[in-house]
């Protein structure tokens, strides 16, 4: 090409008669022009190759030719501001022309020509010709230039390309493999191949100890593997220090050689550090024997290869690590997946078992958790029955180191079950016969500090457990704990839901079940399931005792109706304290078993909560029982308390309803049999209801009252005078000719608008009540009279005797004194009577029962009776004594009262008949008179206090206190007898009383 250019320049110089012609190529995207060849006076200008023309910043003819893409001429180069003064001076140009070489409208080069001796003018034809030549030349030159570049590239890169191809192959080989040992081996193989070496090796740096460890060899014996040397030794050490590949052609003579005989005999060695993440990770080396030199390019190849190798090793390492992580994570994903579904405890444990087996590559797995103080196998994956049974047996008793390890939170790894003395013989045999060879036992911390459980993973092959395995196991333990906690939450939620459902159900009972017994039956049926118990009992407080009124589960039949002291233990404690009583193992206490039939029936755990009454006191105790000893969880206690609360509400409601129902029944009964008159009137005030009692009280039949106003029926209005219906009012109405006092209450019924829609009147006939008041008042008067009459005589005669103005004879004085004496006796009798009544009223009456001859007492009383008004007494007594069991003094009193009454109430005289006789086991005494008699209606009343026959006063006067028969009955009753009367008005009365005969041979 240079030749072509030279020819071109010489042709142009000759054609246009100039001494200088130069060629510059435009390069660097048009920013620079570079001198290629120049001819001056037929010779090459040497310095022209060094010419660099800045096309953008310096004015020059070249630049103008490039940018204007047309040929132009400069007459005076020295004076022109177009031509570069530097070039003008260097070439000695006087006049100049610049011709662009255009190729596809792009200036690729510029030809400059110049005269050196004199100035001349280049014509337009000259310039046009030059342009044509330049166009021809441009094509030729461009072709030439491209060809040269290709030739150079091929020559230069032939070796490099082959190395790059080898590198590419190596890179492919390395990157297609992710298993680290394989990658390392390939490194050595490819390196040896790439550098045509006799041997190659790969060392990785142990950064903890700063030694290189051999990880792959090619052309060496495998015994070199794992060989280690300090990182500062040998050519490797030097390469590390300098941080670049090194080539050594006298390997046998280096200082500080790597001390291994495998390296003897090598003459040429090249080595390069491997590094990633900015840190040295290892070293690669290749060696030749027999003086085959490595060239400098080999070092570059090695460097490039080391870079690739670093990448591959790093990838493989990362991959291995992530593959392990992935395997672990797969196990946890399974657990996580299980967790994600809010599984029950059982499902969670099953998922954990499966995850454990898969994460560690086991054949089967079991989960054993602490449960209320014991270890209990609760979940399994592919676990043979025989093994499950063996585990259950030994876990429960915590036999053997395996289970002790669980308690202590240690991992037990058994590489060979058959030979592992730590395992129980039976467990070993069962595991081996089930086809298992090794075992990994991972402790699991149970939630809520309940202790440790175990995850057991069985392997079909004998297996040494790596650190990784143990790490997985530990992770597994943590994950299992998480799963258990989650499942507990789930269970808690489920039980909360169950509680809510139960409460809803109980709540429904509030509205549907109105029988308290049915409420309790429902509660004791539902409560056990709610708190994972097996039985329940409800006890109600009955005075000082608790009575089981509802029970469910084992022992319920024996417990029903059983009683226990409310101040005792267990349920008694609940009553006393008013709070829940929680006993995990009440059944082990014999005294408690004796107290509670449910415990006696085999239950162990007891949980009792109080059930309140509407008044806030403890009305009962709801207790649940579990057969196995167990702790009661807080949420279980709360659940039972919630049930107790709603039970309490349900009970109150039911009881309230029953009370209301009872009230209603009573109301119906009252309305039917009511003693009160009920009268209802409508809006217009006309009677719409007139009950039987109203008929009876007013004497007006309903037929005569209905549809009329009460005022028309009774001649008295029943309505409150001022329209205010409040309290009882007294309304006198006439029943025939008799005045009847009514106590009237009134209820006004109003319609929703407040208008009176009707009235209801209820009334009672209180005439009788008024009579009672009258009788009481009369009694006071009577007693007053009875006391004052004898007092008048006593006081009066005493005063009379003391008169100074009158002298009384002996006879008179005796008469006065006799009256004073007899009236004093009368006074004493009255006081005694009043005392007797007081004692009867207060129950203080004392009777001294002894065998008493009734005949004798009757005789004594009759002796004292003063007869006047023509009375005659007939005595009918047997000849023999009449023994009775009685108090002689009281008997005398009774008999006196009857005789006095007989005399008093037969004012017109007549015969008083007194008799006494034995009748069966009793002695009967009779007093008959022929007096005024007692109306039939009064016969039941006369034994009442204050009562006297309704017209007795009229007929016989006010004498007597009205207490005689009341006292007589009280005394007879106190002596164990009875008193009664038979009478006909106007014909007389016959009073009788009987007393028990003394028992045979009692002889008191």
């Amino acid at each position: 090409m240079e030749g072509v250019a030279r020819t071109l320049l010489d042709e142009i110089a000759a054609t246009f008669g100039v001494s200088f012609a130069g060629l510059t190529f435009v390069s660097d995207g048009g920013r620079e022009a570079v001198g290629y060849l120049a001819r001056s006076h037929g010779k090459d200008v040497d310095w022209w190759r060094d010419v660099r023309v800045d096309l953008e910043n310096e004015p020059s003819g070249v630049a103008r030719a490039v940018f204007e893409a047309t040929a132009f001429a400069v007459y005076d180069a020295a004076e022109s501001n177009v031509v570069s003064p530097k070039l003008a001076e260097a070439t000695g140009a006087r006049s100049a022309a610049f011709v662009p070489l255009l190729l596809e409208e792009r200036v690729i080069a510029v030809i400059s020509i110049a005269t050196a001796d004199e100035r001349r003018v280049f014509s337009a034809d000259d310039l046009s010709l030059m342009q044509t030549l330049a166009s021809e030349a441009a094509v030729a030159l461009e072709r030439l230039r491209t060809g040269v570049a290709l030739e150079e590239a091929v020559a230069e890169n032939e070796e490099r390309l082959s190395q790059q191809a080898a590198l590419l192959r190596a890179a492919h080989a390395l990157s297609s493999e992710l298993d680290l040992p394989v990658v390392l081996q390939r490194l050595a193989d490819e390196l040896a191949d790439l550098l045509a070496a006799d041997a190659a090796d790969c060392y990785l740096l142990d950064r903890d100890r700063w030694v290189f460890r051999c990880v792959a060899v090619h052309g060496f014996d495998d015994s070199l593997l794992d060989f280690e040397f300090p990182m500062d030794k040998g050519l490797a050490g030097a390469a590390i220090r300098e941080g670049r590949p090194l080539i050594e052609s006298t390997y046998g003579g280096i200082e500080n050689p790597v001390p291994h005989p495998a390296y003897e005999g090598f003459t040429d060695v090249t080595t390069a550090p491997m590094s990633w993440g900015g840190e040295v990770r290892g070293v690669l080396g290749a060696g030749r024997r027999g003086g085959h030199r490595f060239r400098p390019g080999d070092a570059s190849v090695l460097e490039a290869f080391a870079g690739l190798a670093s990448l591959a090793v790093r990838n493989a390492e990362t991959f291995t690590q992530s593959a392990r992580q992935e395997r672990i994570q797969r196990g946890f994903y399974r657990i996580a997946a299980a967790l994600g579904q809010s599984l029950s405890r059982a499902a969670t444990l099953e998922a954990v078992s499966q995850a454990a087996a898969e994460a560690l590559g086991g054949a089967s797995a079991a989960v054993i958790v602490p449960s209320y103080g014991r270890l209990e196998p609760v979940g399994g994956y592919e676990l043979p029955d025989a093994l499950a049974e063996a585990l259950e047996e030994h876990a429960a008793t915590r036999d053997g180191q395996l289970f002790r390890a669980a308690t202590e939170g240690r991992i037990v790894a058994s590489r060979s079950i058959a030979d592992d003395e730590r395992l129980l013989q039976e467990l070993r045999e069962t595991a081996v016969s089930s086809g298992y060879r090794s075992l990994l036992a991972v402790p699991v911390e149970a939630p809520r500090d309940a202790g440790h459980g175990l995850v057991l993973i069985f392997f079909a092959e004998e297996r040494a457990f790596s650190d990784e395995d143990l790490e997985v196991a530990r992770h597994l333990g943590d994950a299992t704990r998480g799963a258990l906690e989650r499942s507990e939450l789930f269970e808690a939620e489920r039980s909360a839901r169950a509680v809510a459902q139960q409460l809803t159900r109980t709540g429904r009972l509030l509205t549907s079940e109105l029988d308290p017994a049915a409420v309790l039956d429902e509660v004791v049926q539902q409560a056990p399931a709610l708190v994972n118990a097996e039985a329940a009992a409800f006890r109600i407080v009955d005075g000082d005792e608790l009575v089981v009124t509802a029970a469910e589960g084992n022992g319920a039949d024996a417990a029903l109706e059983s009683r226990s002291p409310a101040s005792g233990r267990l349920s008694g404690d609940v009553v006393q304290s008013g709070v829940a009583v929680v006993l995990p193992d009440a059944g082990s206490d014999e005294r408690l078993r004796a107290l509670d039939p449910m415990l006696a029936a085999g239950h162990s755990a007891f949980l009792g909560v109080p059930v309140g009454s509407a008044e806030g006191a403890v009305a009962g105790v709801l207790a649940v029982y579990a057969e196995q000893p167990r702790e009661w969880r807080e949420e279980e206690i709360e659940a039972l308390q919630a049930v107790a609360a709603s039970t309490s509400a349900a009970l109150s409601n039911a009881e309230l309803y029953q009370r209301v129902a009872l009230e209603r029944e009573r109301s119906v009964a009252i309305l039917a049999n009511i003693a009160d008159g009920i009268v209802a009137v409508d809006r217009e005030g006309n009677v719409v209801l007139w009950n039987a009692a109203a008929e009876r009280i007013t004497g007006v039949p309903a037929g005569a009252a209905l549809g009329r106003a009460p005022v028309d029926v009774l001649q008295r209005s029943l309505e409150a005078p001022d329209g205010a219906a409040s309290g009882d009012r007294l309304v006198p109405v006439m029943r025939g000719r008799e005045e009847v006092w009514l106590s009237v209450t009134e209820a006004v019924m109003r319609d929703p608008l407040g208008v009176v829609a009707g009235r209801i009147f209820a009334f009672r006939d209180i005439s009788g009540d008024r009579l009672v008041e009258q009788v009481k008042s009369d009694f006071v008067s009577t007693v007053s009279h009875e006391l004052r009459t004898p007092l008048t005589s006593i006081y009066g005669f005493a005063e009379t005797l003391l008169r100074q103005d009158v002298v009384f004879g002996e006879e008179e004085r005796k008469t006065f004194l006799r009256y004073i004496s007899s009236e004093s006796q009368r006074l004493t009798t009255i006081v005694d009577t009043l005392l007797a009544v007081a004692r009867l009223d207060t129950g203080d009456l004392q009777v001294n029962l002894a065998e008493t001859d009734v005949r004798e007492v009757v005789g004594q009383v009759l002796d004292t009776v003063r007869l006047d008004n023509g009375h005659k007494v007939v005595v009918d007594l047997p000849d023999a004594p009449l023994p009775a069991r009685a108090d002689a003094e009281k008997l005398r009193q009774v008999f006196s009262i009857l005789v006095d009454n007989a005399l008093r109430y037969s004012p017109d005289g007549g015969t008083i008949t007194v008799g006494a006789s034995v009748r069966d086991d009793t002695v009967e005494v009779t007093v008959s008179d022929e007096g005024i008699g007692i109306p039939q209606a009064d016969q039941e009343q006369i034994f009442r206090k204050f009562y006297r026959g309704s017209d007795a006063e009229l007929r016989v006067g006010a004498d007597g206190t009205g207490l005689g028969l009341f006292i007589a009955r009280g005394l007879v009753t106190a002596m164990g007898g009875r008193i009664w009367v038979a009478s006909r008005e106007g014909e007389g009365s016959r009073f009788s009383f009987e007393l028990p005969a003394p028992s045979e041979g009692s002889g008191e």
Binding site: S781, T789, T792, V806, T815, R955
Partner: protein, 164 residues
């Protein structure tokens, strides 16, 4: 009883005579009747007795006394009824009635005055004051102070009522 009565009349005859006030005592209690008679006769009054209301009315009609001492609580006809009958009968309606009553309550005394009694004596009473009571009463009636007397008695009752 009547034999005793006869004996005293004879014995005490000197004090009373024809001019003495005539008092009828109606009471079912013999000791009370005796007590009244002994003490009234000692003051020179003439006393007749009846043991029940019916007898008393008969005596009063046949031989009207100057004053009647009338017990309230008696079998058969009680004091109230006897008083009513005495006051209804023209022969006896001018005879002043003094009630003898063991009933101390206000309402009983009021009833006595209401019926037409001029005074009342509550048992137990001092028999020595009986004669002067009768004498004062009769002298005031003689002076035409009957209404005044009843007014005083009602006033007394009112005062009593207020203290009760």
């Amino acid at each position: 009883m009547s034999t005793e009565l006869d004996g005293y009349t004879k014995h005490m005859g000197g004090g009373g005579g024809e001019g003495g006030e005539k008092v009828l005592v109606i009471d079912d209690e013999a000791p009370i009747r005796l007590l009244c008679r002994v003490n009234l006769e000692a003051e020179g009054m003439r006393v007749t007795e009846a043991a029940d209301g019916t007898t008393g009315l008969e005596l009063a009609r046949n031989d009207p006394p100057d004053v009647v001492l009338l017990d309230v609580m008696m079998p058969g006809l009680d004091g109230w009824r006897v008083a009513e009958e005495l006051l209804e009968d023209a022969r006896t309606n001018r005879i002043p009635i003094i009630f003898l009553t063991a009933r101390a309550e206000f309402r009983d005394r009021a009833r006595g005055l209401d019926i037409g009694g001029v005074d009342y004596v509550t048992k137990p009473f001092n028999p020595l004051e009986l004669a002067s009571l009768v004498r004062d009463l009769l002298s005031r009636i003689d002076r035409g102070e009957l209404d005044e007397l009843r007014g005083e008695k009602l006033e007394e009752l009112r005062a009593l009522m207020e203290t009760e």
